[in-house]
Symmetry: C2
Subunit: 461 residues, 2 copies
Amino acid sequence: MKRRTRICELLAGEGLGEDVEVRGWVRTNRVGKNVAFLAVNDGSCLASLQLVAAPELANFPQICAIATGAAVVARGRLVESPASGQRYEVHAERLEVVGTSDEQYPLQKKRHSFEYLRSIAHLRPRSNTFGAVFRLRSSLAQAVHRFFAERGFLYVHTPIITTNDCEGAGELFRVTTLDPAAPPLVAGAVDFSQDFFGERAGLTVSGQLEGELFAQAFTDIYTFGPTFRAENSNTPRHASEFWMIEPEMAFADLMADAALAEEFLRFLCRHVLDHCREDLEFFNEHIDRELIARIEAVADSSFAMMEYAEAIDRLRRAPVSFEFPVQWGLDLQTEHERYLTETAVGGPVFVVNYPKEIKAFYMRQNDDGTTVAAMDLLVPKVGEIIGGSQREERLDLLAPRMAELGIPPDSLWWYLDIRRWGSTPHAGFGLGFERLIMYLSGMENIRDVVPFPRTPRHAQF
Amino acid sequence: MKRRTRICELLAGEGLGEDVEVRGWVRTNRVGKNVAFLAVNDGSCLASLQLVAAPELANFPQICAIATGAAVVARGRLVESPASGQRYEVHAERLEVVGTSDEQYPLQKKRHSFEYLRSIAHLRPRSNTFGAVFRLRSSLAQAVHRFFAERGFLYVHTPIITTNDCEGAGELFRVTTLDPAAPPLVAGAVDFSQDFFGERAGLTVSGQLEGELFAQAFTDIYTFGPTFRAENSNTPRHASEFWMIEPEMAFADLMADAALAEEFLRFLCRHVLDHCREDLEFFNEHIDRELIARIEAVADSSFAMMEYAEAIDRLRRAPVSFEFPVQWGLDLQTEHERYLTETAVGGPVFVVNYPKEIKAFYMRQNDDGTTVAAMDLLVPKVGEIIGGSQREERLDLLAPRMAELGIPPDSLWWYLDIRRWGSTPHAGFGLGFERLIMYLSGMENIRDVVPFPRTPRHAQF
């Protein structure tokens, strides 16, 4: 298939002096005395290409009337631009409008609030900010796959519909085909044996448990797929549907897990610095003036590590008054995490070995009897960005722990099974993909880094 | 992070003559008079590495008792193997069992039926066949991203939870947090305004409509995510949850669409021939003797193209009696598709321009008034593998067509909107990822190419 020329290539000077074809959407149309200047964008990069149209063109009157938002196809010569702010422009020899626009077009030149733009999520990708956000998102997603592919990790599609609840939390969406108005009842309770899957089913909150199964066959695996939380919370950091990256390694302990997390995060920082520079500079100018400096610092730093107990100790001695209590046995809040990474350490820091009561059943119990081999990676500005653990691989410790927490062994027989034959020390972590994009773009609302966000009472488009 | 040596690297001779570390699961343990031979597999490739353990090892008696399925870690020298069937082996200087096994281990050496293996989907990745299947799946998924990344396509995560139904089909899973036993009713009907999203929501059947929105900003985009069908059909080709790849291109017609589909499928065939050779050879020997020849033929052939009308004509004149009727206006069945690609053409063939009545509302109406710009790509052995179309970009044709089919315009106001401002001719297609894996592995049941398949009454693991 013959490749089409993209505007990012033309702006890099590919085809200079030659006849090229340009396709895209008009961002602005500035009509001078004897010429029209059209800024055309095709989404391949932030910048628009300037099309210069002269009155010699048969449809020049029509060209002068082209409104913002119209789709055009043009042919012409790519030349150096005499104007400042751009190196190249195209002198149109033909310019055709394939899709008109008008003054009703919702993305006029004036600035719009992010909140308004969420209501036109079908059009906001054509704006500078959201063009940059979704290019960054795509580039990062592809880089995630490249990172793991280069390291021999197997990509596994863990199930979306599930009959188990990984974290033991109740915030599951139910998936059903039962008649919603008249569900089959037995003694007042719904008879899920008549539902599509023959039992109660829901949307996954994590692919970890199934990922562990695959790690016990392929050694190094990762998942990258959608996960769901039915929490009724309206915050800038929570969405009902989001994507997670969850690597899992057999024959690996907590230190190997932390080493992978550090390598991964630094790789992703380096990736956006090297491959998304134009968009990053846009974010740095318009969204967060510290962005590039912060990403560079993470990309170049070596991450610190601190025991949970030490973290508590340092927080208690901190000359700061926190909103939430600091005490051994309580989870860290964002304010605590940010103090640790921003003030106490001054860079990324792993906090490891948390009290077992505040962590999930599957985490490996340490010999002290009170902590588990958990790790959270904290980074400046946001606090926790990655959470992981070594998993309990010893059946004689896992089974009693599940019993203690009231998790019926029958519900996870297969999870116990892989501890029965050829069990290995293994570890993994989870990185919320939207959190990552927010961190690397400076965008502060998760609704603005998801193409079509799902939150309580919102599932449009 | 220091990389760990993988068995596929050792079997390629990396580190020959050096001390290496080996980790994996024991496939067989053959104990001779003065030596134990352990075949160890870590999932990085099909082949196992032979570990040779001599009686000098302090734990030799324990080594001799290692059962199939145990997890071991060994150190030793990588040397050329005197035995046939393998070039290298490791002479163990230390061999530690990290996870024992016993004769209850369900994957003993004897052959198991695929049906039985489905019941132990947590362990089947440790078998030769499923190791090969899931390596192929992972390698293909990563190759899909590489294909599009290299061509500047933007990866978009279209929503999983949706309030619209792309194809107009009713086979949706409902997603809800309402009390299943006592849903809120208004006049006998469920009051979905009280549900989590404030309206009736379900799982997506396709990301196409949202993909189109992004193509109207980024020109070339693709989706690759899970999709769902609540059809109560138990066939080897249908699953309730499966992954789809859906590219969409602005400024593109049906011919550009077909060109991309051809380039894509040939790339994927070439990819597995070049990068999954060992696993392909396994499939060719054990699953389908024609496999590699068939893939090579597709990789090297130029695809034919045929009008639907001509296809009907040739089917009617075929010296074959079909089970299903052949008539202009009826959809093609698999038997028809296979005849066309296998007998009529003898290779991959696009059938284009189908009657509009048997295709979706969004396909572009041809000037003849009776057909739409649809294409199906048919390949030997399976029939249709890719389906796509040019989309109706003309508002004045799309809106009446939707009305004709009873689709309320309010439900897709955003889809209509992108035809209002800057509309472009655009086209795309869908490739079911599991169909692709079946095609490239010879596996005949979709349940055997999905890690943890979801089908009616089955959502285990």
